[in-house]
């Protein structure tokens, strides 16, 4: 569905995307992870045609550049910033977006109804967006990206600042979209979300793709060993090991063992192992 080859983009001396290769298959949810300034947003902007690559190629579906109207009609973007008109009602927001994608008449009304039902906002469709909660705005933002039935959906931090109920609803809707055959590029800093819904995950840093695979593959390859954390009388011990026997032997050597627990590697440890533990404020 989406194929990036040798994609590069620089801003002055800063190489934001560096020879990026990536293939996302039809109907999969691909998690796109990286620290701040890693090149995620630049990559997304290249995919939707907001930026032009210095070199490399982007192929979406059957071909065509992201700047061509036909390709754009096959892409949906839910940006991180809530791209909504506060003075318009939820329905008016969606009707306007639909018209921008050349929907009209009965088809427009049906698609708006579907999108409102899909994100659970039908009963609030006549309220202005400014009266919506943060979670409702996020859901409306998602609905606006889905109106024209895109084949490729890009979700940029779609659950930032929402309550657990709205977050759960959004994740469920994304899984529904996958079941309906939609391809999703999912950008997030919430590892548990990515673990929950993504078929494959890519970790990017300094413009380079560091690793790509299923969550299990990444954990096995980059997550590090299981750990046992034991608390003795005075101090805490951390043992990283590859087998239960090793763990038992290590626990037996702890003086005055009070309690212990195990830590298994997860996507967060993969992320930190690949991108380091230093702060990224840029």
């Amino acid at each position: 569905m989406l194929h990036l080859s040798n994609l590069s983009k620089s801003f002055g001396s800063n190489r934001a995307v560096d020879d990026l290769h990536l293939t996302i298959h039809s109907g999969e949810i691909f998690g796109f992870l990286g620290p701040n300034g890693a090149g995620k947003s630049t990559t997304v902007n290249l995919i939707v045609g907001l930026l032009e690559a210095d070199s490399g190629a982007i192929q979406i579906g059957d071909g065509g550049t992201p700047r061509s109207p036909r390709v754009r009609e096959s892409i949906g973007l839910a940006p991180q910033s809530l791209a909504l008109y506060d003075s318009l009602t939820g329905r008016e927001n969606l009707e306007f977006v639909g018209k921008c994608y050349r929907l009209k008449g009965t088809q427009l009304a049906e698609r708006v109804d579907w999108a409102l039902d899909f994100v659970g906002l039908r009963d609030r469709q006549s309220d202005r967006a400014e009266a919506y909660s943060g979670g409702m705005k996020r859901r409306l933002n998602l609905a606006a990206a889905l109106l024209h039935q895109p084949k490729l959906l890009l979700l940029d931090e779609p659950t930032v600042g929402v309550d657990p109920q709205s977050r759960n609803a959004i994740l469920e809707r994304v899984l529904d979209l996958k079941r309906a055959g939609c391809t999703v590029l999912y950008t997030s800093h919430y590892m548990e979300e990515v673990e929950r819904i993504c078929d494959r995950v890519g970790v990017i840093d300094q413009g380079k793709m560091l690793a790509v695979g299923t969550v299990e593959e990444l954990i096995a390859e980059h997550g590090g060993a299981h750990a046992v954390i034991a608390r003795g009388q005075e101090e805490e011990h951390r043992f990283e090991m590859s087998s239960p026997e090793e763990a038992l032997r290590a626990l037996a050597e702890v003086e005055n063992l009070r309690d212990f627990h195990t830590e298994r590697p997860n996507l967060e440890s993969v992320f930190l192992n690949l991108t380091g533990r230093s702060l990224r404020d840029s």
Binding site: R70, Y85, S87, E92
Partner: protein, 365 residues
């Protein structure tokens, strides 16, 4: 086209729901027009540049002309009769003093027959200066005879003549063109900041990833701005007609003028929208530029109170040309030929701003 229309309708809807914005677009210009209309009705004036046409050509009339030329209260301009009429119509001079045949003889017989008659063709916007002129003319007439005796003299004041009737506008007809221009300034600023707002809130991003190009986005905004400008003009004229009895001399020419002004303002909106990185800075920059144009173009202080160099400089202000074309159709009695120059300037200004704005907008993406 349907996408462009969708953007235009969305913008009009957003403006309609912005109550404070609506106040400045619709009600503030009415307050402005009423305020200045009341001021014109009650002011006591001053004057200055005049042309003199001597149809009498007697020694007395020539002495009178010399007295006028030497009077510091009047600047006698060197115009032919036709040129002077055009200059009054265009507002370049305050009026034309016509010395009719027989004026010299009547002046010499003063007190022993009908009083001498002078006729004054005046620019009604300079009503303040006319009252003072009457006294100056009487004084100079007596001076030309070497007399200090006070004697009556009849001064017939004429308004501008259109093809169909003589026009002497009411005070509110003088102030409503300025009110209309102020309404349009508010429209311009509302739309220019709305484009910046779309950038900062992210809605422009949604438009840019849709199958639209930047020209479609700008065209949608421009159509909305143009339509709202015409609506504001219509509402102000309707209020003027219903409440203050304003009756345009020429509806077709007034309509032509309003179309040109709205076009120019729309182009300026697109250019102003490219300045500033956020709503506040865009608004500050936009209002500063427009206020400067308004001040320079007589939108705040009448041109008559300005120094000559400022009056000359006012020609760079679209506001000056805007007021002129609205007055031209409303009460000045401009012909189509009279409208060509100011309308052409407004169209050229609008087109230049439109092109420059589009270029800057595309570069900013």
């Amino acid at each position: 086209m349907s996408q462009i229309w969708a953007i235009a309708c969305k913008d009009l809807r957003l403006i309609a729901r912005d109550r404070s914005g609506l106040f400045f677009v619709l009600f503030f210009p009415i307050i402005f027009a009423v305020f200045f209309g009341s001021m014109y009705a009650g002011d006591d004036g001053r004057s200055i540049p005049m042309a003199v046409y001597d149809a009498d050509e007697t020694t007395v009339s020539q002495s009178f002309r010399e007295a006028l030329t030497g009077d510091p209260a009047i600047e006698v301009m060197d115009f032919s009769h036709e040129e002077a009429q055009d200059a009054v119509r265009a507002g370049t001079i305050a009026g034309l003093i016509r010395i009719p045949e027989g004026f010299g003889a009547q002046l010499e017989r003063m007190g022993r027959g009908p009083p001498p008659v002078l006729s004054l063709l005046v620019d009604p916007t300079r009503r303040a200066e006319i009252a003072m002129l009457e006294g100056v003319l009487t004084r100079d007439a007596l001076e030309s005879l070497g007399s200090e005796q006070i004697a009556p003299m009849t001064i017939e004041i004429e308004g501008l003549e259109s093809s169909s009737e003589t026009v002497m506008p009411e005070p509110f007809e003088l102030s409503f063109p300025q009110g209309i221009v102020w309404g349009l300034l508010s429209v311009v600023m509302s739309f220019s900041t709305s484009l910046v707002n779309e950038k900062t809130t992210g809605t422009l991003l949604r438009l840019r990833v849709a199958p639209l190009n930047s020209g479609d986005v700008l065209a949608g905004k421009a159509i909305a701005c143009f339509l709202l400008s015409l609506l504001v003009c219509g509402i102000l004229l309707a209020v003027g007609a219903a409440v203050f009895g304003i009756r345009p001399v020429s509806w077709p020419l007034l309509s032509l003028g309003l179309l040109c002004v709205s076009y120019c303002m729309t182009g300026m909106m697109l250019l102003l929208a490219t300045f500033g990185n956020n709503e506040r800075s865009s608004s500050n920059i936009g209002w500063s530029i427009m206020m400067l144009f308004a001040m320079l173009g007589g939108g705040m202080i009448p041109l008559v109170f300005m120094a000559d160099w400022m009056v000359s400089a006012s020609q760079v202000s679209p506001i000056m040309w805007s007021v002129m074309v609205v007055e031209g159709g409303l009460w000045r009695g401009f012909s189509l030929q009279d409208m060509i120059q100011p309308c052409g300037i407004l169209l050229a200004c609008g087109t230049a701003c439109f092109l420059l704005g589009t270029l800057r907008f595309r570069r900013s993406l």
